[in-house]
């Protein structure tokens, strides 16, 4: 028996990330110089001692499945529990794609039941944050709640962009409003829930019978629980949390890492972010290069030029006299001589020929390029990239 089983929703397509999720799931999108977005949630599990985790995959799962492997980087290569990838499947009664977040869990009730847990932690693999789930679980137990939803205070003027939980002063939730025009509160749901399993199971089974339901936690399960007067509490999280839902927010979240006192601390030795590491040699910086306010990974060769406010993943090569600012270069990118890149996201293994200039205005969204787009010169500065 496990006290708490983690269920990590990682099947999202992340449509608004455009080219970045063209052929990989949003949780597998590279982030922060050496990670993938899902590493933050998986590492939170490790650091919170939750070692029994089901990862629900659906959209373009190859990279993601390969990345997770047997869970060794997160110490989840265990014979008791550990990590299990849960893809949609067929069985005697047929089978179907996961039609919503709640449906994904519903279809894997048998997975959870194996461990006979008291609680189930539902997380999403789309967010960047460092959080101790044990604190959330502790509050859930203390309040004897049926469900506890992790929330973050957002600026009032932005509240209408989020799913807002209306609570009383003891943080008991009485109402959930998705993107309210006139928000009554500024506590936004982070998409992280702890449920008492026996209660959740009942609601999942009930919800599955409803043909009108969209089988979503936010839209269906939580409102149904509130309707029935269950004890739902909000758990206030303090710290960095970002949904990297769009190209702009993806770029911003990466740039946040470069801030002098970034709230998100990758160097926190007590809360390490784990990932699959490579065997690339340490980075080489040439005599004529300047690198400032940047993050650079193993295997990079900076043969000259200037790098500023940029993030370089592994095995990136920068030739002489190239100028790279406010850009994110994924693994294996080669930047030719005298290139100028400003506010550009360059996807894996793109080779940028000498003298290429791509500059996005600071007021525009960053430009995303890959080899194909570069060759066809179809990139649009500040616009849609497809």
């Amino acid at each position: 028996m496990k006290e708490c089983v983690g269920m990590l929703l990682a099947g999202g397509e992340g449509k608004r990330l455009g080219l970045l999720t063209h052929d990989l799931a949003k949780p597998a999108v590279p982030f922060g110089g050496k990670y993938r977005i899902i590493d933050f949630t998986l590492s939170n599990c490790t650091n919170s001692s939750i070692f029994t985790v089901g990862v629900l995959t659906q959209y373009s799962p190859l990279e993601l499945t390969k990345h997770i492997g047997n869970g060794q980087p997160w110490e989840m290569n265990r014979s008791d529990g550990g990590i299990t990838i849960l893809s949609p499947y067929t069985a005697k009664h047929g089978g179907d794609w996961y039609s919503g977040t709640a449906d994904a869990i519903y279809q894997n009730i048998h997975f959870i039941e194996q461990y006979n847990p008291k609680y189930v932690l539902v997380m999403s693999g789309d967010h960047i944050y460092q959080m101790d789930y044990q604190q959330l679980l502790k509050q859930h137990k203390e309040m004897k709640a049926d469900a506890t939803i992790s929330v973050i205070e957002v600026p009032w003027k932005e509240a209408s962009r989020f799913g807002i939980l209306n609570t009383n002063e003891k943080l008991k939730i009485y109402e959930f409003e998705e993107k309210p025009k006139q928000p009554k509160n500024n506590l936004a749901s982070m998409g992280i829930y702890v449920f008492t399993w026996e209660v959740l199971k009942r609601y999942l089974i009930k919800d599955a019978q409803l043909s009108t339901s969209s089988h979503d936690f936010g839209k269906d399960i939580i409102p149904a629980m509130l309707h029935d007067g269950l004890k739902l509490y909000a758990f206030k999280f303090q710290g960095y949390w970002k949904d990297v839902g769009t190209i702009q927010s993806y770029w911003e979240a990466n740039m946040d890492l470069l801030k002098e006192d970034s709230e998100l601390d990758l160097d926190n030795k007590k809360w390490r972010i784990y990932t699959n590491n490579s065997h690339f040699p340490p980075q080489f910086i040439c005599g004529s290069a300047t690198v400032k306010n940047s993050i650079v990974n193993d295997g990079c060769k900076i043969l000259g030029g200037g790098i500023e406010k940029s993030i370089l993943f592994r095995d990136v090569e920068i030739q002489k006299d190239a100028v790279v600012t406010q850009s994110i270069l994924h693994s294996g990118v080669k930047v030719g001589r005298k290139c100028v890149l400003e506010k550009v996201i360059v996807m894996e293994n793109t080779i940028i020929p000498d003298g290429t200039h791509i500059v996005a205005a600071s007021s525009d969204d960053p430009v995303v390029i890959n080899q194909e787009i570069l060759e066809q010169k179809t990139y649009v500065i500040g616009g849609e990239n497809r």
Binding site: G32, Q72, P282, V291, N293, I295
Partner: protein
Amino acid sequence: MKRLMGLINLDHEHHLFNELTYFRNSASIPFAGRYRLIDFTLSNIVNTGIEEVAIFVRNKYRSLLDHLGTGENWDLNRRNGGLFILPPDWNDPSDKSKGDLQFFHNNRDYFHRSNAEYVLISGSQFITNTDYKEAFQFHLDRGADVTLISTQVEKLLPEHERFFKVEADDLGWVKNITNDKHNPLIFTGVYIINKELLMKLVDECIAYHKDHFFVHGVAEKINQLKIQNYRYRGYSAFINSIESYYRQNMKLLCLEDYEKLFYQKHLVRTKISNNPSVQYKKHAQVNRSILANGCVINGKIEGSILFRGVEVHKGSSIKNSIIMQRCTIEEDVYLENVILDKDVQITKGQRLIGSPDKPFVVAKRQVI
């Protein structure tokens, strides 16, 4: 490659590493920003396709054990074969063996249990990035009993003195194994030997009270054994002293040499750490240097090698130095021609200057 098994024999390795080997075996000295010396030998063995590797190590092996672990970083965490670390554990009361023959004698099982017919033996001080597939094929083709892997150096350096030299005829048959100071054809310490012969020679050495397998079992039997010389031509270094260690690290700051060592067919494997990528802050000014992940740089670095997790604060300047894992350099420090071992802390305003020929070495965990 089931036919070949590996052995890294660290016994009898000469070294002059002073402070760097106070607490560790020379095979686990950190090198080139993120490696330990043994990583090169071990990677080469694994890249040859060898699936079982033993290590003979006599003392100061704690850091080596920690570094190698289960061998998973070299894909040696196998059900069959894999990594065997064999420190001294003698319990045969009739044991009369001496020197490294103690290891051979007390670990006969390792050799007998394997189906391999050949053994590749190596030390840890020959640094290169290769595999020995071609050398093994050469050994088979020539029908040799033993094949020595040698390399010709352009310039004889002090570190070469302690390695054997090879004299071979035009057909590659070895005629002499010497200590000739003027011979630039240097034995790398890597050789391939037929397993059955190895065990026979071990027995002979023990019978005659010998204490050094290679010297007495191979070099002295040059007239009885068919010994071939295989000449290796890739980039390589011999490291057995502080001086050669410093020089060979610094050599990698030349891009050509760095690429020759690291960007061959294979990547050199080492113990993985979970450090984030290097963070360059506002005042970072880094030139001609090698940096490993986990460093946080806010000072000036020139011609230096920084290992994982080094912090350099504002106003500090590091020149021609080697700074090992997790050192902290506080504000306004000046370091030149210095080697800092792991976990050293240099407090605000300090100046340490060594000479290019004799770098100033600070032992592990000192606060200065």
